[in-house]
């Protein structure tokens, strides 16, 4: 397998294979993710964009950097969707509470910062989603296409904010499960993304469509599910536990928002939007 380096950042070196697949060498606090190869220490040299790499056997070489993949452990990037869906109502309620706790903060300001075009495209997408009939999936897909096209690839940055928002929204749809025609919608977004956004953003969207998410998202889902569990138990006996779970939710959201310059925040905004829609469907 061969390819080239897309970009290097403080704790990430993004690579793309010649077949268009993305792999990220990460270190430090970044952690596991569907695209990530987690290194136990940072690269000592900066890999310039465009540098060729090759994977031969269990060794990845890019410039002077040699990464031994033989001892890498596989990590399951899919959260336990079945467990989360089984408690969907309560998890949605916990997610809405989490959203309210940071209302007006960075995840919402992000869309304004990304520009009025992104905010308008998000609003158009949400309206299209609300208006689509729930029984006729083909019509729904057709009606959503223009709004999805508008959002995909929109905004500055290596992963445009519109794509980040859609990726978060797709994760929310996985929480919804069979409430909507998820498979068809995933396909629509992936098809549109193929021609309308960057290699990196497309890779993130594909992961989200497949229900795969970074470690920080796993932490958020675990925390939300745990909040649900605690709410079901005796409040007085678990006051201390509840407090720590709230902190876990906050810590997970903070970690998500540290992803990229604005990407994590935009994903959270998309996820919370999906959560709101799920809540309205269930009600």
């Amino acid at each position: 397998m061969t390819g080239r380096a897309l970009a290097s950042f403080r704790s990430v070196c993004d690579l793309a294979t010649d077949a268009g697949e993305v792999v990220a060498l990460v270190w430090g606090a970044v952690g596991n993710g569907p695209l990530n190869v987690v290194l136990n220490r940072g690269l000592e040299v900066v890999v310039p964009a465009g540098a060729r790499f090759a994977v031969m056997g269990q060794v990845l070489r890019v410039g002077e950097v040699v990464v031994d993949l033989s001892r890498a452990a596989r990590w399951d990037a899919r959260p336990d969707w079945e467990r989360l869906r089984a408690r969907r109502g309560a998890v949605v309620a916990a997610a809405r509470a989490a959203q309210r706790s940071i209302a007006g903060l960075r995840e919402q300001r992000l869309l304004k910062q990304a520009g009025p075009a992104v905010a308008a495209a998000v609003t158009a997408f949400q309206q299209a989603w609300r208006q689509t009939p729930r029984t006729d999936l083909q019509s729904a897909i057709r009606d959503l296409r223009p709004a999805t096209c508008n959002l995909c690839g929109l905004g500055p940055g290596l992963t445009p904010a519109g794509d980040d928002w859609l990726a978060g929204w797709l994760l929310g749809q996985h929480l919804g499960g069979d409430l909507r025609g998820l498979v068809d919608l995933e396909g629509l977004i992936i098809k549109i993304a193929a021609g309308r956004t960057t290699t990196l953003a497309r890779a993130f969207l594909e992961c989200a469509a497949a229900g795969e998410a970074d470690e920080a998202w796993h932490e958020l889902f675990d925390a939300l599910a745990q909040e649900d569990a605690n709410q079901q138990s005796d409040k007085s006996a678990n006051q201390q536990t509840n407090e720590s779970v709230n902190q876990r939710t906050s810590a997970a959201m903070a970690r998500i928002m540290r992803h990229g310059a604005t990407s994590g925040a935009a994903m959270l905004a998309g996820f919370f939007s999906a959560v709101e829609m799920l809540a309205s469907i269930e009600n």
């Binding site: 430090g28 910062q113 096209c149 690839g153 500055p156 940055g157 445009p160 309308r196």
Partner: protein, 538 residues
């Protein structure tokens, strides 16, 4: 007008980098519009809507970085593209080679075990948690973040009080502790005046005023804007006041705030009475009687606070310093009369465009002397709120805007760091034939824009050209809050403004007073509704 394009195949930068580069290009001379985006179809549609889509940009692919600049001429366009290359290269170097920074409070404490103060500036929801951790680890806290819930603030300040620590903030933008400037602060000399302030720009105004008068600062403690509310109860104002009363390095104390809740004011004034150290009390707009009854020295504005405290620190009578200020203000009357003659009938409006919230508030207090009301997004009282002016009613003549208010800073840097928004307002106001006076504050110091006067001067010159084309002249008045030791030396900044024709005043109060005198005279002449001499009342 020409449009220039640079395509950088497969070049990736994060979104903040691209937005900052685009903003930097827009500030270049001769650049009318610019876009720096990945070449996705959606982004190409966006730049097409802005009239920036060239053939080269239209051919861009999603993985290409597309830079488009519309400029006055070829040279300006090429210069902008070269600047974009340089900025992107510099950002890439910064991103990849910057020294490793601590990723958490715990790792920061581990790296600097002798530290006794933590500066916290993260999103409000997380700020409280970080502040609590810092207090529990025995650190004083400067909590720069806003949007911290009220109950969290109360709880944090209770914890700080229990531990004998300071919790400055939330929303504390300025402090100077043991000579170290924190947040937006100025390079002022050390000295014998200690300050506690609920206002960041108020603290900057007074510390710079002290420096102008040769006095220095022992400690300058910020409390955050809500500290003196009834709900919070003023714990940090009280703790800071007690600390300064006990501090052998402090001879004079200055307190700065908008009027506190009555019960809180009583506690603070009671604490003043408990010490022999003189206290100058600048509760902007507050009733002087309770302050004087508590043996505090009441002052009406930030300038008076600095003058009185400097006099006390030098063993002089503060009354003499205040009288001297009054004397100096009389010199504004003939200046106002001379300037007013440059205006055309119908030019009656005063527009204050402020980066500092307390400067905006102080200006409104001084401009209360005008017969016509002054409206604001941060008004003295709700009846003067800009949004209280109903649709269909004419725009008020006199407006003071706090451009650091939430409605202006959503998704933007604060105007002290990014003057672009104010520059646009300057141009907008210049197009209004009623505009007579534009009043500005220029804030220097750490954290502020590297050349705020320079960028303001460009907008001022453009505004004067717009007015001149219509046979008008606009009077620009500014006060610069800073010192010679600041990263942007005060004299240079003031000279830049004077070169642009600005009437530079030594402080915000004098600037507001001069603006009021000119405007009042124009109203008297233009509308013939008043026949009063100019007033200088605060």
């Amino acid at each position: 007008m020409s449009t220039h394009t640079r395509i950088k195949p497969s070049e990736y930068h994060d979104s903040v980098t691209l937005m900052l580069v685009a903003k930097a290009l827009l500030e270049l001379p001769g650049v009318e519009d610019a876009a720096v985006v990945m070449g996705t179809p959606a982004n190409r549609e966006l730049i097409a809507a802005a009239g920036l889509l060239t053939d080269a940009a239209a051919a861009g692919r999603p993985d290409d970085l597309v830079i488009v600049v519309r400029a006055a001429d070829e040279a300006a366009g090429q210069a902008a593209l070269a600047q974009a290359d340089a900025l992107l290269a510099a950002r890439a170097v910064t991103t990849t080679t910057a020294a490793e920074r601590p990723k958490s409070l715990a790792s920061a404490i581990a790296a600097t075990p002798d530290a006794n103060l933590a500066v916290i500036s993260v999103a409000g929801r997380y700020a409280a948690q970080e502040a609590r951790t810092a207090l529990e680890r025995g650190l004083h806290v400067l909590l720069f973040s806003d949007n911290v819930p009220l109950d969290e603030e109360i709880s944090l300040k209770q914890l700080a009080a229990e531990r004998g620590l300071l919790c400055m903030g939330p929303d504390a933008g300025t402090a100077i502790i043991n000579g170290v400037a924190l947040g937006f602060a100025n390079a002022v000399p050390r000295g014998r005046v200690g300050l506690v302030s609920a206002s960041g720009t108020g603290l900057q105004g007074v510390t710079c005023g002290l420096a102008r008068r040769g006095a220095g600062v022992s400690q300058a403690i910020g409390t955050g804007g809500r500290d003196l509310s009834e709900a919070v109860g003023g714990p940090m104002m009280l703790a800071g006041l007690r600390a300064l009363q006990d501090d052998p390095e402090t001879d004079v104390i200055v307190l700065i705030s908008k009027p506190p809740a009555p019960a809180v004011a009583a506690r603070v004034l009671g604490q003043i009475q408990a010490s022999a150290k003189p206290a100058v009390v600048c509760f902007l707009g507050a009733d002087p009687l309770p302050i004087e009854a508590a043996c505090g020295l009441h002052v009406a504005n930030l300038t008076q606070a600095a003058a009185a405290a400097a006099a006390l620190a030098c063993g002089e009578r503060p009354e003499d310093a205040l009288a001297q200020l009054e004397q100096e203000s009389l010199a504004l009357i003939p200046l106002a009369a001379a300037e007013q003659r440059k205006l055309r009938p119908g030019q009656t409006a005063l527009r204050g465009l402020f980066a500092g919230g307390t400067f905006c508030y102080e200006a409104q207090l001084i401009l209360r002397a005008l017969p016509e009301p002054v409206y604001s997004n941060a008004p003295l009282d709700k009846s003067r709120a800009l949004d209280s002016v109903g649709a269909g009613f004419p725009r008020p003549d006199h407006i003071c805007l706090d451009l650091g208010g939430d409605e202006f800073t959503q998704g933007r840097l604060h105007p002290m760091m990014d003057p672009a928004l104010r520059n646009r307002r300057i141009i907008e106001e210049a197009r209004d034939p009623a505009t007579a006076v534009i009043l500005l504050d220029i804030v220097l110091g750490y954290g502020a824009h590297p050349d705020p006067a320079g960028v303001a001067a460009e907008a001022i010159r453009e505004a004067q050209q717009i007015a001149a084309a219509d046979g008008r002249h606009i009077i620009f008045i500014a006060a610069v809050c800073g010192t010679e030791a600041d990263p942007q030396p005060l004299n240079q900044q003031e000279a830049t403004l004077r070169d642009a024709g600005v009437l530079v005043q030594p402080d915000n109060a004098a600037a507001a007073r001069l603006a009021g005198l000119i405007t009042q005279a124009m109203h008297g002449e233009g509308r013939r509704t008043k026949d009063e001499g100019p007033r200088t009342e605060d």
